[in-house]
Each structure stands twice: as structure tokens, then as C-alpha cells.
């Protein structure tokens, strides 16, 4: 299918590179699966910076700390296949601005969210046109933010939030067969990152909010023991899907700590079967949501720091800085 507004590749299409090592039997490479080096309740570090895009009213750039395996692969590259990936995204906020002429009257601010992966963001090349999962992320993000913004303060106005994902989380480890994880778990981490970054960008645009909303992910995972047996399911915070053999269920929340409210909750998967025999209270849905909230609390501390920096920059602007 040719796109007249873009430069097209060969008409017959191309195939992604197939590595010889991935053609070998799975057993020979299973040792290479990255292992989680963090404690179950330990989060990855988040790098969050606001105001990098001066032409926007507010902006934020978010990056997750690379996992231990990825950091090792970076410092001493051996294989061209990256063991896992680390989220990188940029978020811009344009507005509040007048609604287009064609739009009908709205007493509240009209929020538009737009999430797009860069073509090189994931292991598989992404298309230029938004696909279903990107639209889905946009809708989830909108729900998460709508409950935070004081919308009636800007009647007849629009607010555009655009997120460009430069590097996404993996949905599964690359060595696993494509169907071994049924769900795109990486999307949940991406959503959590989107919520945190968008929150920082909205604050940077100085839009009135009830609180700083932060995103967090928790999952119930069942890992392999060294002798190949599935271990008992465990609750982990901020899971990297590449590090786990099977994720039973996962939950992402958008959480406002000072009000103790959740504006968005997305729970996926079924861990009821595995928790049937156990009496472990840690494997209920409540504990999963609590785990996600705890992860969001962790992200909130980073968020608060970034927003404070943004506020200091704004306060310092009249005395120094550029005029344009």
C-alpha cells in the first residue's frame, strides 16, 4: 500500500532481519533471559525533565532506567539483539487555546490526547498511521487526566496533549515464542509512563490541577526456578515484561496521592487459577491494585521534584533567560 504523503520503501515490502541464534532451539538460549535484579517492591529509576520543548506551553521528557541486563549490554556490546528495552517518551502540551471554528460550544476545556510510537520504537517496525493499540493508549490517558484537570476553568478552550514514544517497553522476552505471553504487557508500562509525563507537562503548562497524578504498574508473575519448574506466583512492582517468563495479571493505575484517589484503573489477566490453592493474601486483586498504587507513589516523588524544578524556572524567568 503506497502512501502518497510519505516516502515509500520497496513495493514488495521488506522483512525484518532474522538472527541465526534465534533459529536455534529455545533451550540453548533460555539461560540468556534477563533476570530481575531488583527487589519485588523496588522501582526502576525515572528520569523526568520538564520544559525541553520551548515552543509548547508545557513539555516533559521521561526515561526509565535501563534494566541491569540492558545496561550491561550497552557497556560491553556482544549481541545485536538487545536483551530488553527502557521506555523513552516526550510529551508536549499545547493550550489552553481557542477551539476550532467548527467545534460546538463547550463549557469545559476539551482534552485531546494523542499517543504515537516512533517507527523505530519497538522490536517490530511500527507504521506511520496510528494503530488500535496507540488509540487505546490515548483513550486510557485521557481518562486518567480528565479527572485531574480543573476543566470548568477554561470554557470554550482546547488542550492538546501529544506523546511521542521513542522507545517502548517489550511485551515479552524476544526469545519467547510470540504467543507465550498472550497480552501486550509492555503497553501497561508505557501507559504508566505516559500518565506521569503528561502530568508533569500539564503542570509545566501551568494548567490548574487537583493534584499531580502519577502512573504505576504492578503485576503477579510466575517465574521459572532454575530447574525449569514454574515457581509460586509473586506480586512485583514496576515489572519489565522481558524479565519474566509469564505474567499472570497486571494492573496500571493513575493515582493522586494527596487525595488518595484513582482516576484510571486498568487490570488485565487472570491469576485466579494459580492462587486457588494458596491462602496468600498477597495475590488478591486488592493487593495487586495496592501494589500499583505504591508504584505510583514512587513515581510521584520524582514527579513532584520535576514540577518543582519547572516552577522555579518559571519564577526565575522575568529576571533572566531569553525573551523569545
Amino acid at each position: 500500500m503506497t502512501d502518497r504523503r510519505r516516502i515509500n520503501g520497496p513495493p514488495s515490502g521488506t522483512r525484518p532481519a532474522v538472527f541465526a541464534s534465534s533459529l536455534k532451539s529455545a533451550s540453548s538460549i533460555s539461560t540468556a533471559r534477563p533476570r530481575r535484579q531488583r527487589q519485588p517492591d523496588e522501582l526502576r529509576k525515572i528520569f523526568l525533565k520538564t520544559g525541553l520543548i520551548p515552543s509548547a506551553s508545557g513539555s516533559a521528557y521521561l526515561e526509565f532506567e535501563p534494566s541491569a541486563s540492558l545496561a550491561a549490554a550497552r557497556s560491553s556490546p556482544q549481541s545485536l539483539i538487545p536483551p530488553s528495552s527502557a521506555l523513552k517518551l516526550a510529551c508536549t502540551v499545547h493550550g489552553p487555546k481557542p477551539l476550532p471554528r467548527s467545534a460546538s460550544f463547550s463549557p469545559n476545556i476539551v482534552l485531546t490526547t494523542h499517543v504515537k510510537y516512533a517507527p523505530f520504537a519497538a522490536r517490530q517496525r511500527k507504521g506511520h498511521i496510528r494503530d488500535a493499540s496507540e488509540r487505546d493508549l490515548g483513550v486510557h490517558l485521557e481518562t486518567a487526566l480528565r479527572g485531574v484537570i480543573v476543566a470548568e476553568r477554561w470554557p470554550k478552550s482546547g488542550l492538546d496533549i501529544t506523546i511521542t514514544i521513542l522507545e517502548a517497553e517489550d511485551d515479552r522476552w524476544w526469545g519467547d515464542a510470540p504467543d507465550s505471553h498472550d497480552a501486550p504487557w509492555g503497553m501497561m508500562n508505557v501507559l504508566a509512563g505516559c500518565i506521569t509525563a503528561a502530568s508533569a507537562a500539564i503542570a509545566d503548562a501551568r494548567i490548574d490541577c487537583l493534584d499531580l497524578v502519577a502512573g504505576g504498574v504492578a503485576a503477579i508473575v510466575s517465574d521459572e526456578t532454575p530447574d525449569g519448574e514454574p515457581s509460586t506466583p509473586k506480586l512485583m512492582l514496576d515489572t519489565d515484561p522481558a524479565e519474566h517468563k509469564s505474567i499472570l495479571s497486571a494492573c496500571v493505575v493513575a493515582y493522586m496521592p494527596s487525595r488518595d484517589e484513582i482516576t484510571e484503573l486498568w487490570l488485565k489477566g487472570d491469576h485466579s487459577k494459580s492462587s486457588l490453592g494458596t491462602t496468600d493474601q498477597n495475590l488478591s486483586h486488592e493487593s495487586l491494585i495496592d501494589g500499583a498504587v505504591n508504584a505510583a507513589r514512587g513515581a510521584h516523588t520524582v514527579l513532584a521534584e520535576a514540577v518543582k524544578e519547572s516552577a522555579e524556572r518559571f519564577a526565575g524567568l522575568p529576571t533572566g533567560g531569553s525573551t523569545v
Binding site: R5, R6, I7, N8, G9, P10, P11, S12, G13, T14, R15, P16, A17, V18, F19, A20, S21, S22, L23, L52, I53, P54, S55, A56, S59, P77, Q78, S79, L80, I81, P82, S85, A86, K88, A90, C91, T92, H94, K97, H114, K116, A118, P119, F120, A121, A122, R123, R125, H128, R130, D160, I161, T162, I163, T164, L166, E167, S322, T323, V324
Partner: protein
């Protein structure tokens, strides 16, 4: 910066930032031609001298899922470029068998061309045709990233994005930056027994007369090509997207590593090795660097009347008066978004330097949208671009 806006009367209490928004043209003009009494130097509103470029930085290899990537910041304009290599098997190319047999003909025709340049070693005449005919380079630039207000995210690429994509592809082709040899995946069939080989040769000589001229690597055949998807995301746009985008493409291609690939007879497909030690970098031809300029005119918005244009003779008189201190036109290097909005005439020069001699070679020179820049000005701009080439080379070599 407040002190640098001398045209604001003291009675008017308007902060410079608001004056800049209300009267952008007058604001920039006041900076560029301060009254003689103020002893202020002529300087742009952003604090740069007219031929000064913004601070540029580059960073490569930070994106995990790319074969090569780069982030280039030119002032507040940020371009991220990722290069992804995918495989195009020759079996998938509809016209391959036809074009391949005719390629040897092409070669002969081209070789009769008397003026083969001696400076470029091992010139491959098929280079351009393969890269261009098979669409092996696929650059696309995206502005729908929220990089500036006015670009609606999710909408199809704007005319600006399309024309920038085209310019990048055109420049990749015309500079022949990427060598087609780097993109070819060859297959050398295992050598047959002596008898078989002879018979094989005989039959081939009977069948394919046209290939008689090629004596080396007769059995070697191209099984596939690498296709480079070069995607550029302008994350932040504050003027001059082309320079930043091109620098990002250049840095990303310099960073690009292609895995060793071979034809696997058993699986009938191209297979790659994931060992970093076996991968190789692209060997690029030269290092073309882009520099953009715009021309700010004092009388551009001189009112509602029709602009009366002096002809070339009068133009020279204006130049005379310019030497007496009344300057009416300023050529601004690396314009930011504010300056781009106030100017119409644009110049873009891409230069490279020959290795060894250090001679400046112009690869592309565009000027459009006005008549202030003529031969003399272009010559000066080429010199500035050559200087900029050195700066950018230094930046790219450090990352």
C-alpha cells in the same frame, strides 16, 4: 535582554517580551540597527551575531531498537533519527531478473564514459541505480509530534514535512552518501567439483552471453539487499528544521551497524549473525553538512502600498549606502522560529570538503523567495558554510 531594545521609549512600560510579540518586525529591526547614539552593537534579538549558529550537540546510539540512532539539538530544535535495516530478498523484486541481466550492459555503457574521475577510488557505476531503483533508502520526517503549535498530531504529514522528507531523500541520492555495496547481501555457492565446474561454465557461456565480460566472482550473486528506513522525529521545532534533521540523519548513519548476513541454503532465507564483533559500520561517502540562512529586510512590511522594486543597478547604489552605515538587509545564519516568521528569502547550502586537499565542494545550493542574495552574497555564505562544516564535523566526531 531588556537593555538591548533601545527603540522602546522609556515612557512606554512594555516588557521586551511583549513588544517582541506585538511588533516582531520592529523589535528585530531595533536590535539589528540600534541608533548610532546608543553605541550598541548590531545583534539579533536572540543575542547572536548575524553569522552565528546556535549551540549544536549530538548524541548517538541511545535508542535500543535501531541499527543506528542519533539525537541532534540545534538550539531549541531537536531532531531524533533512527535507522532500521530490513531485508529485501531479490526474489521479492518483480523486475529483478530483468534488471539484473541488463546491469552488465549498463556497466559497459557507463564505462565508455570518458571522464571517470581519478580521485574517487573503486567507483561503482551501479551504485546509484540500485539504491534509487529499488528504493533502498526510505527517509521520512515527522512533525506530528507536538513539536510546535500548528501541526495537528495524527493528521497526515504537512506540506513542510513532505517537502523536508523529499529534500533529505534527494540529498541522500545526489551526494551518494550510502554505498550500495554496503547494502548488498551476496551469496557465493560452494565450489563444485572440477568437472562440474567446467560443464557449468560451458553451459553458462552458451546461455548468458552478456555476462562474458565479468571474470571475477562469476557465481557470486546478490541474494538480498538491506533497506534502510530512516525515520526522523522532530521533537522540538524552533526554526531551521532541515539543518537539524540532516545532521541527525548523518549522525545516525555514521552510527549504523549492519549485522553480517548470509544466504542460508537450508532455510532458503537470509540469516544474520547477532555478534557485534561481526557487524560492520556503513562506509559513507564524505560528510555533507547543511547550513541555512534567511534574509531579514528592513522595509519588508513598509505599508499597504505596492512595493516598488529597484532594479539591479539601483541595487548596487543601495549597497553603497550600506557601506556608509545604513544597512537595510541582514543575512541571518541558522534562523530560529521567530526570525523565520519575519523573513521570506531563504538560502540553504550543503557543503563537503574533499579528503586530502580540503577543498570545499558545494553539494547543494538553494536560494528562493527574494532578490537580496546574489552571487557575491552567495560566495560569502559558502565560506560561512565551509566554516560551519568544520564545527559540525568536530561535533559529529566526538559523539
Amino acid at each position: 535582554m531588556a537593555s538591548a531594545a533601545p527603540s522602546v521609549p522609556p515612557s512606554l512600560t512594555l516588557p521586551p517580551s511583549q513588544f517582541a510579540r506585538l511588533q516582531p518586525h520592529a523589535y528585530l529591526l531595533a536590535h539589528l540597527s540600534p541608533p548610532a547614539s546608543s553605541n550598541q552593537p548590531s545583534i539579533r534579538a536572540n543575542g547572536r551575531a548575524t553569522s552565528q549558529f546556535r549551540v549544536t550537540s549530538a548524541n548517538t546510539g541511545s535508542l535500543t531498537h535501531t541499527n543506528g540512532s542519533a539525537v541532534v539539538r540545534v538550539g531549541d530544535t531537536t531532531a531524533v533519527c533512527g535507522v532500521r535495516a530490513e531485508i529485501l530478498p531479490t526474489d521479492d523484486i518483480a523486475s529483478w531478473s530483468v534488471s539484473h541481466s541488463s546491469s552488465s550492459m549498463n556497466k559497459r555503457r557507463k564505462l565508455t564514459n570518458p571522464a571517470q574521475k581519478p580521485t574517487q577510488e573503486e567507483e561503482d557505476p551501479e551504485d546509484e541505480t540500485h539504491i534509487q531503483q529499488l528504493n533502498l533508502l526510505v527517509p521520512n520526517l515527522s512533525l506530528s509530534t507536538g513539536c510546535a503549535p500548528g501541526f495537528i498530531p495524527g493528521a497526515p504529514p504537512s506540506a513542510l514535512a513532505q517537502s523536508l522528507s523529499h529534500q533529505i531523500l534527494n540529498l541522500l541520492h545526489s551526494t551518494r552518501l550510502v554505498r550500495a555495496e554496503d547494502l548488498r547481501i551476496w551469496y557465493q555457492p560452494p565450489s563444485l567439483g572440477q568437472e562440474d565446474l567446467e560443464r557449468h561454465n560451458e553451459s553458462e557461456q552458451m546461455d548468458v552471453d552478456a555476462e562474458r565480460g565479468e571474470e571475477v566472482g562469476k557465481d557470486k550473486e546478490i541474494k538480498a539487499f538491506w533497506v534502510l528506513y530512516i525515520d526522523i522525529m522532530i521533537i522540538s521545532l524552533a526554526g531551521n528544521p532541515f539543518d537539524a534533521a540532516w545532521a541527525a540523519v548523518l549522525a545516525a548513519l555514521r552510527d549504523t551497524k549492519l549485522p553480517r548476513a548470509w544466504w542460508d541454503v537450508d532455510n532458503e532465507m537470509v540469516v544474520c549473525s547477532d555478534a557485534v564483533s561481526e557487524s560492520r559500520k556503513l562506509s559513507l561517502r564524505g560528510l555533507p553538512v547543511a547550513s541555512s540562512f534567511c534574509v531579514f529586510e528592513a522595509d519588508a512590511a513598509a505599508g499597504w502600498r505596492a512595493v516598488i522594486i529597484p532594479d539591479a543597478e539601483e541595487e548596487r547604489e543601495i549597497e553603497e549606502s550600506a557601506r556608509k552605515g545604513i544597512q537595510r538587509r541582514w543575512i541571518l545564519a541558522d534562523p530560529d522560529g521567530y526570525e523565520e516568521g519575519l523573513t521570506q528569502e531563504r538560502v540553504c547550502i550543503v557543503v563537503d570538503k574533499e579528503e586530502g586537499t580540503g577543498k570545499t565542494v558545494i553539494v547543494k545550493m538553494e536560494k528562493n523567495g527574494g532578490w537580496a542574495v546574489d552571487g557575491k552574497e552567495l560566495k560569502a555564505l559558502v565560506d560561512i558554510s565551509a566554516q560551519r562544516w568544520g564545527e559540525v564535523k568536530h561535533i559529529l566526531e566526538q559523539c
